[in-house]
Symmetry: C2
Subunit: 500 residues, 2 copies
């Protein structure tokens, strides 16, 4: 390795190590920090951001980066530098003051959101929401954009993505999705009494751990805990932490929450260990990340072979509740399609409608077309219009997600990108692994995980999202059709309906 590159990597090491510490601070805050620690934690995160920002924007960093770029060949170092350059460019555009203010504001806003959600008090959250959007608008202006301020935001989570592309993607999906929802609504509902029971916490927790171990999550390099909003936080690939939520009367929340976060967790654990705390570590974009979580949650977890494999274990944990039921009963129940309030609990079909709604609201709050004070009303109207229902309170409405409090604006569309990418990967996987259904039915998820490890996970952040997709699918670009086909194929069989 050239000396210039070694020198540059030495500069990067403390920065990316501190980034990995930040992930841990975040996890700790959500999972177990005492409430009184919020303000001090906000200061800690702000200090960490400031120090990283200072190191990244030091003129010496830039000149060393440029020397390294000069020296690098067309190998992995080139990718290391590309990823570091992206971080540098993002940081150099933002004044240190703004980075720090945003970190402090979002740490306090998350705390306020937890409280507001608990007490159903939007008013308690509003000043924080307004502050976060004000700062985010400033961020967009500093980053710059060609067409739309929102472009500057989405690019942070999904490099290369734009407002126009998202509009086109959603435009391609929506008409067919609306048709599907209507067709399902007109057909007899699937039976779901099996789920309309209480499932004690202890068994739920045990089943979640069992499922995560079954799909290959390594608990020597990770944890599962509980928090208000499920998430996966990877400090390094050796320490990947997920959370879920438990509700006695909604066992699907822990099952599919765990599988969802488990999909994120497997991707993170697949990042090569030697890349820990470097610009090459972790997932390459949120959309690609979400393709992994949605794949394990829906494509795998809501399939019949999956329930043939794991229903016996669930029945052994809940013998009373599941007496007389079959894997097929479970399969039908977990695929019940119905407009509902909570995005993370939504079925595969209506889910995208939730995402579109959030996308429109946050885009409009960025352009000031919508004032944050009017969010609850706008939310409720949009939900009534799109899904035909109105949430009874803000905790089940605009306060349900952590994203806006945490400054994650431009993030929601990546959920739908994830579904689209998952469907593209799934089509390729079914070709490459003709025995997949039989393997899944036998509870053997190793071939699927092996495929993902080999074709996607091991590249971690060394590839762009486009390259990752291209590499894994053998040459495809983002394409909404496999997703639409997958949904129609699955649900026309389940609900005995015809695709027009």
């Amino acid at each position: 390795m050239s000396e210039a590159i070694t020198r540059f990597k030495e500069l990067c090491s403390p920065i990316w190590n501190l980034y990995s510490v930040r992930s841990l601070l975040y996890w700790d805050q959500q999972v177990l920090m005492p409430g009184g620690g919020a303000s001090a934690r906000a200061d800690q995160i702000a200090a960490l951001e400031k120090v990283c920002h200072g190191m990244l924007t030091d003129p010496h960093f830039k000149s060393t980066l440029e020397e390294a770029e000069e020296a690098a060949g067309e190998d992995i170092d080139r990718r290391y530098l590309r990823s570091a350059r992206r971080a540098y460019d993002l940081a150099a555009k933002l004044p240190s003051r703004l980075v720090e203010e945003r970190a402090r504001a979002t740490a306090l806003a998350v705390e306020a959101w937890v409280e507001a959600k608990k007490t159903n008090s939007f008013a308690h959250f509003l000043p924080h929401l307004r502050r976060v959007f004000d700062l985010t608008r400033e961020v967009a202006e500093h980053k710059g954009y060609a067409q739309h301020p929102y472009d500057a935001l989405i690019d942070e989570y999904e490099p290369g993505m734009t407002t126009a592309k998202i509009d086109a993607l959603f435009g391609g999906i929506l008409p067919s999705l609306v048709q599907l929802v209507q067709a399902i609504a007109a057909s007899p509902p699937l039976p779901r009494r099996i789920l309309q029971q209480a499932f004690p916490f202890q068994g739920q927790h045990e089943f979640s751990r069992y499922l995560l171990e079954s799909i290959g999550f390594d608990f020597e390099r990770g944890r599962l805990d509980q928090s208000a909003h499920p998430f996966c936080s990877s400090s390094t690939s050796s320490d990947v932490r997920m959370t879920d939520r438990l509700d006695e009367w909604l066992v699907t929340m822990s099952i599919f929450g765990s599988l969802h976060e488990g999909g994120h967790g497997l991707y993170e654990q697949g990042s090569p260990r030697e890349w820990n705390s470097t610009p090459l570590a972790g997932g390459c974009s949120l959309g690609i990340h979400e393709s992994q979580s949605r794949m394990w949650e829906n494509f795998v977890g809501r399939s019949l072979p999956f329930w043939k494999a794991h229903f016996p274990k669930m029945r052994s944990l809940f013998p009373e509740q599941l007496w007389g039921y079959s894997p097929e009963d479970m399969y039908r129940a977990v695929n019940y399609v119905e407009p509902s309030f909570i995005r993370v609990e939504a079925d595969e079909v209506t889910y995208t409608l939730h995402v579109v709604m959030r996308y429109e609201l946050e885009r409009d709050m960025i352009t000031r077309a919508l004032d944050p004070a009017d969010l609850p009303q706008a939310w409720n109207e949009k939900m009534q219009k799109t899904l035909g229902i109105t949430p009874p309170n803000d905790s089940l409405g605009c306060l349900q997600d952590i994203h806006w409090s945490d400054g994650l604006i431009g993030y929601f569309p990546t959920y739908s990108i994830g579904n689209v990418v998952a469907a593209q990967l799934w089509r390729k996987i079914r070709t490459d692994l003709p025995d997949l259904d039989r393997q899944t039915e036998a509870g053997n998820h190793a071939p699927l995980l092996g495929w993902l490890r080999h074709n996607l996970h091991r590249y971690a952040s060394s590839v762009s999202p486009e390259e990752a997709l291209f590499e894994a699918t053998g040459g495809e670009e983002l394409d909404h059709r496999p997703f639409v086909d997958y949904l129609w194929d699955k649900f026309s069989k389940l609900n005995e309906i015809q695709r027009p």
Copy 2:
């Protein structure tokens, strides 16, 4: 405030915030980090140390410090600067490489120690122990010392303390202590059948929390968890985390472990919130810190009024075990004096003998008079000579404490300094609070905590240990006699013996 001081405080803010993050990383590693995360965590801690060290030793830091020192009056800013100057001086003497190496070595050594203790394998720990002592010796050389390399180490934990002063202190205590142990051994043993029973975990945990709440620990600003070795880690005064250990057959371990860590925790929670993550925050030395933990553990927790207050609660949690017993039975049992293997479980009288032994061993490993490979043998011989017993294995012997793995060399003597200071404070408190026994008997610990808050805690790190002691006692210097008097007074009554 002068501009020079404001500028300097701005420089300090990220550094002390990162120090407070380091405390959290340490806590996380001990309490819940997955085992596979050890190596990455070592890298994170090393990076954090390196960044802090770099900021502290930047020439700009020094010049800004000097300008601030020029500008400061005789107020709290002067104390802020004195504390910052101490950190600067310590850091400036240590090369960045050494700081980083030590951080990485101790993180790995702690992990190895946990494993070695679990499997009773000193060989597994030895290379780590050797490495830590090698690096610590280097540290002492860099720091410099007048008389003894160990002086350079103890000074880090107890500013102003020296090997010669410790020898004098221990010399003043030991003869009288040996007399006391012998006199107790020659008297009929106190009954302790009340403790020789199994106490289920759930009740122990509940009783610990109850006691901590009773003495005034604020759980909105702290936590209690479990770990292999009990400790208290304060990230800020708003987030103070303690751990204890539970053993079904040794209920005193959780009771006195919690009270001990609770004493540390109360001191940390008493540090003014506006000083969080600044050079003024936290305890002023380990000896003063230990005076707080030993006071709550022994002077309060092993007193008769304390058990009159809290025995009823304990009996309600363990009705079967405690049926027919009285607070007096508990008082006598928890004051049973007997040479034993484990320092943290030792009684008040033999405890100091444990400390002296560790002090001599680590001092000798620093001077190379003792090779780490010979530690188990030296340990066992010394314990046989001092306490008349030999541990059956290294887990109960030289592997019992976390300190050496964590590079905390020069730390053990502060435990005895803590006992001595506690006795001096206790004498003053009994004068200032003539109703203390009656208040304690009523379970009202607020007057005592109030006294400590007012006379000690609120000064946090703004004072030196000498100043803290002087301030709180109304003018005293370190004096071993109140400690010896306290022990003789208490145990001559309990064991019906005469002081010669």
